[in-house]
């Protein structure tokens, strides 16, 4: 697959189709990826007004969309543990499995926001526990700068979160997911840096 960490083309195409059918938002709330949202909202000027008006209608059903990048060795297994242990956490986090938190190019994060994510979670092994020895240590430096720059450009700090979650920390994953979901719910929809089609 080329790029598109969020919403692969088929999901996006589906989102656009939904838009044409006038069914953006609500109906596909449960689907993974940012397709539905990205397909919504107007272009410039007056079209944006339409988006806002539409928002009021569906306000009651809105739930945050959180794109989560989870390292396959720790955090993805941690999320799996949360699931198999029957812990409940909000379905707002859409997980994408990456080989290592070091795989997360800051451009992925920007792209997620562009395509309609309300928040982005990057989860990896605890520093020192990386399967590849140092991937998360490089990631930590990179993400520290990227997060600083993103906030400098005006993004709220809560919208990009970085957590170290091990394979044994199902509980931590569930907690992070629900705390993050709550925080993003309080902030509301993200409109910043977002693509308007």
């Amino acid at each position: 697959m080329s790029l598109e960490p969020v919403g692969d083309t088929s999901v996006l195409a589906q989102g656009r189709k939904d838009l044409e059918a006038g069914a953006a938002g609500g109906a596909q709330e449960g689907r993974a990826g940012g397709g539905g949202e990205a397909g919504k909202a107007g272009g410039a000027g007056e079209a944006r007004e339409v988006g806002k008006a539409g928002e009021a209608v569906e306000e009651g059903e809105w739930a945050p969309k959180i794109v989560g990048f989870a390292c396959r060795w720790c955090s993805y297994a941690g999320a799996d543990l949360a699931g198999t242990s029957r812990m409940s956490y909000p379905a707002t986090v859409r997980l994408l499995r990456v080989p290592c938190s070091g795989r997360v190019n800051p451009a992925f994060i920007m792209r997620a926001f562009q395509r309609g994510a309300d928040a982005v979670l990057v989860a990896g092994c605890h520093p020192g526990d990386c399967h590849y020895t140092s991937g998360n240590l490089f990631a930590r430096r990179r993400l520290a700068l990227a997060k600083g720059l993103l906030e400098y450009l005006g993004m709220e700090p809560e919208r990009l979160q970085i957590h170290w979650i091990s394979a044994a920390e199902g509980q931590k994953f569930a907690r992070v997911a629900s705390e993050m979901s709550k925080a993003v719910e309080a902030l509301g929809r993200n409109r910043k840096m977002r693509e308007e089609i």
């Binding site: 930590r140 906030e151 450009l153 005006g154």
Partner: protein, 360 residues
């Protein structure tokens, strides 16, 4: 900037006639005497047209890459005129292994700043009606420009050079080259340059650091002002700036740290940034451009100078430079080093997000 033209010509002629270099990169007369253009001398005749003066605005570092990038034969060596900012850029290209140290002869000059043509001409509104500059005289503490209007009447203006410097010169980090082979002498052609042999990057002897501290403080306070705004105002501020971007990529093309053979903005697949100029793409582009030079930016300010829309790009670069220095404890983050800040790590690197995470 003092007078170096005579010793520049002399050194250029010597290096070319000795066959030590193929090309000498410096400045030559443009159409407008207030805007000398980069010039490339390949023989003695062309060398006699070279010049450098207080109006020589463009940075020369990136031209070195065009001339010798990827070529390692000694006969392809170039000589290049380098002020502090140029030398930082050349050091960047060397550190990035895009240019071999031995294939470039650096002719260093001390520089106290370059005059901004726009600021100068704005002193007399009549100059907006003419492009016909007749004469320019730069004295120790005065610039005098004379021009002719369409009706053949003459207009003139006087200004103090120190009030008219380019914005990037007001934030200058290095007035003397950080790396050079030959330091040119300012005395109008009385002596040849003093040949020191190649110096290591960052060896600046007893250069006064006071001015640099002042520039650093100026940069820091601009960043701090922006940081002090709320998220909303910051977003609005940047949205207003980026909205004007025409995506000409001048900031990338001129940047000595942006020298990848294959640039993320040029490859069609993956299409990181589309050709659209709507706001979301502008944010993506400017985020990526700044981030791709994070920890490698030399603070030369060329991106901002080259920008036709006047975007405050240094404000982005300086933020990253400040973070690199504060978070990773890297001294003089603008001076290229063996390894770049994002190329290694420390087990105790800070986690600036830790305050938002409740552990338990």
């Amino acid at each position: 900037m003092r007078e170096y033209t005579a010793s520049l010509k002399r050194e250029a002629e010597r290096l070319l006639s000795e066959g030590r270099v193929k090309t000498v990169i410096a400045f030559g007369p443009g159409i407008d005497p207030l805007a000398p253009i980069p010039a490339f001398a390949e023989d003695k005749d062309e060398a006699s047209d070279l010049l450098v003066n207080a109006f020589s605005a463009p940075g020369l570092a990136k031209y070195v890459l065009d001339e010798v990038g990827g070529v390692e034969k000694p006969e392809h060596s170039v000589a290049v005129l380098a002020r502090g900012c140029d030398s930082l850029g050349i050091a960047r290209l060397i550190a990035d292994k895009r240019v071999q140290r031995q294939s470039v002869v650096i002719l260093g000059v001390h520089c106290d700043g370059v005059i901004d043509r726009g600021k100068l001409l704005a002193l007399n509104p009549a100059f907006s009606r003419t492009k016909n500059i007749k004469s320019v005289a730069i004295g120790e503490d005065e610039v005098f420009v004379e021009a002719e209007l369409a009706d053949r009447s003459a207009v003139s203006l006087r200004g103090r050079p120190e009030d008219l410097l380019l914005d990037k010169c007001l934030k200058c980090l290095e007035r003397d080259p950080v790396v050079f082979d030959i330091m040119l002498e300012p005395e109008a052609g009385t002596m040849l340059g003093r040949e020191t042999g190649p110096t290591p990057v960052g060896d600046r002897g007893g250069v006064d650091q006071g001015e640099k501290e002042k520039s650093l403080r100026a940069r820091r306070s601009l960043v701090a002002e922006t940081e002090a705004l709320s998220s909303e105002s910051r977003y609005e501020f940047w949205a207003r700036q980026f909205e004007r971007c025409i995506r000409c990529y001048a900031c990338r093309n001129v940047c000595p740290a942006c020298s990848c053979r294959k640039c993320a903005f040029d490859v069609p697949d993956p299409e990181w940034v589309s050709k659209c100029t709507w706001l979301s793409e502008q944010f993506m582009f400017h985020f990526l451009r700044a981030f791709h030079v994070a920890g490698r930016c030399v603070g030369c300010g060329e991106c901002e100078r080259a920008c036709p829309m006047g975007l405050p790009l240094s404000l982005l670069n300086d933020k990253l430079m400040k973070d690199v220095e504060e978070m990773f404890g890297i001294e003089d983050p603008h001076v290229p080093k063996e390894s770049e800040p994002l190329g290694f790590y420390s087990p105790d690197d800070p986690e600036p997000w830790a305050k938002e995470v409740s552990e338990g």
